[in-house]
Symmetry: C2
Subunit: 164 residues, 2 copies
């Protein structure tokens, strides 16, 4: 199974919104995210489900992905908020509904969390070494072993600069 | 400083050439490698130098990069051959001629060596978890610290599928 970790697009500045959870994508952020989503769709990606952080800039990114026909289904996943615990996603994954080999799913969230999750899945250890730009993507292939922590492969790390 | 680790393009089958060092790129391999090189050039990459494995499929890839105006200079670097020791490249790097922050260089070689070198630079440990396709690229930002092993950042892992 392939998991794509997607960082939300360019959002309004922090000083413009007292509530960080409500910071929206900017117009440019929406446009660039849509371009990325269309490009991924052209390449042939299709996600059985998109799980998104509850924060506005992430859920807007998820909606843009749905708009580009990348996935029929979006669900809010609280552990994708900043500081969330990957174990909640592992538990979700181990329930088995989406862990067939043919499936792809997308997780939309934030940095440094997504880079840290990727490091945990691939190396078993957070080192903070993965640079993930806004509207960028990490592609991870989960092993057939039960627990994906430290057993997965990294096959993609890209961003709008390299995709568009 | 940014280092791009580039895997050679699609080469002739092993059973067609008794001497693995002489296996050339196929016509399709040359064409796809040239497309990748042109795309990298359009994105704005420029390498101060390209170091290449002495094997034919790698040196042909390096020549295609030069043909696409990605670099004025190619040098054969024996440690980029399969099984080569990264320490030889670290020694070369620490001589300081190309380790300015503004520089980009490319290393052209083979799998699993390039993935292993990337893991050493980023995590300090070989785990064999990086999937690098033919004519694919890994982008690594070296830290300002003297020794790049285990101190570098990963910002790119891509392949023709995602670039073209």
């Amino acid at each position: 199974m392939e998991v794509y970790l997607i960082r939300h697009g360019i959002a309004a500045e922090r000083n413009e919104y007292t509530n960080d959870e409500k910071r929206p994508l900017t117009d440019r952020g929406k446009e660039k995210t849509l371009q990325v989503a269309r490009r991924l769709q052209e390449i042939g990606l299709h996600f059985e489900i998109v799980l998104t952080s509850p924060l506005l800039r992430a859920s807007q990114t998820a909606e843009i992905f749905q708009q580009a026909n990348l996935s029929p289904k979006i669900e809010t996943f609280p552990a994708l908020a900043p500081g969330g615990n990957i174990q909640e996603w592992i538990d979700w994954y181990l329930q088995g509904r989406y862990n067939e080999r043919e499936n792809s799913i997308a997780l939309i969230g934030h940095q440094p969390d997504l880079g840290n999750w990727a490091e945990l899945l691939v190396t078993g250890k957070i080192q903070g070494k993965i640079v993930l730009k806004k509207a960028g993507a990490i592609g991870i292939r989960l092993s057939k072993l039960k627990n994906p922590i430290g057993t997965s492969q990294l096959f993609l790390l890209t961003s709008p600069k390299w995709l568009l």
